[in-house]
């Protein structure tokens, strides 16, 4: 049984989506602009894109690269962040470098990396990897730093070696914070993917968007926006489900994505 309040809470995002689409519909009817189709027209164009085999293959290839880049970045960033959080020397070593990298627009590296590695999957995955790494490192670092010293001492008294303490105490204790970083990283992976495809204009979802724009297929442009937006919202919602399951034990957190760094 779902209580009425829980029902409204679950329905609220759906209502918000419908509301936003309604605002769009009204705005486009009022503006009567040729290049601004109504929400209904855009939604009608969605099945056309997803039914188009080439477009679908393109989008799936994008998603595969995104998953690769995200996965490698997470596997690389969590251990680094945890080490930085537990060792002042490691933190002092990496912090300035990361601070310098932080404001570099990662997707903007696309043309340069293309110059070296070509336009293949490696380049695109590498750019996504760069985009995802920083927030995951940062949150793992913060999470590891906040682990209570006495908890580690308790573990040490039970005979855990330093490495065991890192894996069996610091990692789980920092998990809520790590997953917050991963959630930010996931959205950033999608953003970096789309942006780099818009810049390189070779293939993928970002490319479909601008091709349609250049050819004046405005329905397709807006339909693609709906598809990409839905991807972002779904990925975030799925990840939030997983996160909530994994850290059921932790004190309830602020349930909005707080960090975008």
């Amino acid at each position: 049984m779902i209580s009425p309040t829980a029902l409204t809470r679950r329905a609220a995002p759906v209502l918000a989506c419908i509301g936003l689409l309604a605002v769009w519909q009204v705005a486009s009817l009022v503006l009567k602009n040729d290049s601004f189709p109504t929400a209904i027209e855009a939604i009608r164009a969605v099945p056309d894109i997803l039914g188009d085999k080439e477009a679908l293959i393109n989008i799936l290839a994008s998603l595969r690269r995104m998953a690769m880049g995200f996965g490698v970045a997470v596997l690389f960033s969590i251990p680094l962040g945890l080490l930085m959080g537990r060792s002042r020397a490691v933190a002092a070593f990496f912090n300035p470098l990361l601070m310098v990298i932080y404001p570099v627009p990662k997707a903007a590296l696309m043309p340069i990396i293309m110059l070296w590695l070509g336009v293949g999957d490696v380049t695109k995955t590498l750019v996504i990897f760069l985009g995802v790494s920083l927030p995951v490192i940062y949150h793992s670092f913060e999470g590891a730093k906040a682990v209570e010293e006495k908890m580690l001492w308790s573990g040490a008294a039970m005979g855990l070696s330093p490495l065991q303490r890192l894996v069996r105490i610091v990692l789980p204790a920092a998990l809520p914070e790590i997953l917050t970083g991963c959630r930010t990283g996931l959205v950033l992976a999608l953003i970096t993917m789309i942006t780099s495809e818009m810049i390189a204009r070779q293939s993928g979802a970002g490319n479909i968007l601008f091709n349609a724009l250049d050819m004046g297929q405005y329905d397709t442009v807006f339909a693609m926006i709906i598809i990409v937006g839905a991807m972002g919202i779904c990925l975030d919602a799925i990840f939030e489900r997983i996160r909530a399951r994994l850290v059921r034990w932790s004190e309830p957190q602020f349930d909005m994505p707080l960090s975008f760094s």
Binding site: K106, F210, L213, F260
Partner: protein, 255 residues
């Protein structure tokens, strides 16, 4: 003793940066990478200095900065006011919350083609994109800061005769300030990144456009220069905001 510790840490921190530059130089010097693909660091930095004093390049920086600040300023005004309103008023909260929940994880850059169609290829679309991207971190941290203000702080102010309306500006806003400024810092760096990317995707001026132009003509050096410039801008603005923050928050513990 402590100052010695800090300088030791600083040396340790500069080591990897020096290593990266050394490796970069090494790659070129030992012929692993041709200078056309990877220009040596000395060349890139001298080119950077040369460009920074040139009028045309300064024009590009100015165009980027105008968009950056306009977008960021709108995002701050909108983000802080919506965030405070949502924290203070349950009815507004009920509306804002689900909308933010849906829009925050949406990749804003996907909206860029739509913004181009609606606002044209000039400043408007880029400023709107910057605003859209910088808005949510500012809004969310304002909301977070304002909704976690200690209840007893508000009670104390009410007991002292402050009106409900005044409490918003005299208690909640200052108490949420640390959180708001954290959001602004994140929003500012995001603004730098987004304005550059928008200019790369489609523009006729600005730093991002400079990179794309260089890429079309395979001028590797000129590709590095705008990229380093925007990163430096990000670092400088970040440091400036940090200074503003430590000034505004001088009364707060560990600000």
């Amino acid at each position: 003793m402590t100052s010695r510790l800090i300088s030791a840490n600083l040396l340790l921190g500069l080591a990897p940066i020096a290593l990266v530059i050394a490796a970069w130089q090494g790659l070129v010097s030992f012929g692993f990478a041709p200078a056309t693909l990877l220009p040596p660091p000395g060349y890139v930095f001298s080119r950077l200095l040369q460009q920074l004093v040139s009028w045309t390049f300064q024009q590009e920086i100015a165009a980027t900065l105008v968009r950056l600040f306009a977008g960021f300023a709108i995002a701050v005004v909108l983000g802080v006011s919506i965030g405070i309103a949502a924290a203070a008023n349950p009815a507004i909260n009920a509306v804002v919350r689900p909308i933010v929940r849906v829009l925050a994880p949406l990749p804003k850059v996907a909206l860029y083609p739509a913004l181009l169609l609606l606002l044209g290829f000039g400043h408007g679309s880029k400023i709107a994109l910057v605003t859209a991207d910088a808005l949510f971190p500012i809004l969310l941290s304002t909301y977070y800061g304002a909704s976690t203000v200690e209840q007893k702080l508000i009670w104390s102010a009410m007991a002292a005769g402050t009106s409900r309306y005044e409490i918003l500006f005299r208690v909640i806003l200052p108490a949420a300030m640390p959180s708001i400024l954290t959001g602004c810092r994140i929003g500012l760096v995001i603004s730098c990144i987004v304005v550059f990317l928008a200019e790369m995707i489609t523009s006729t001026d600005g730093l991002g456009h400079a990179l794309v132009t260089a890429a079309r003509t395979f001028q590797a050096v000129d590709m590095f220069v705008p990229l380093i410039t925007i990163s430096l801008l990000g670092l400088i603005l970040n440091a400036l905001l940090g200074a503003v923050r430590s000034y505004l928050l001088r009364g707060f513990p560990e600000a």
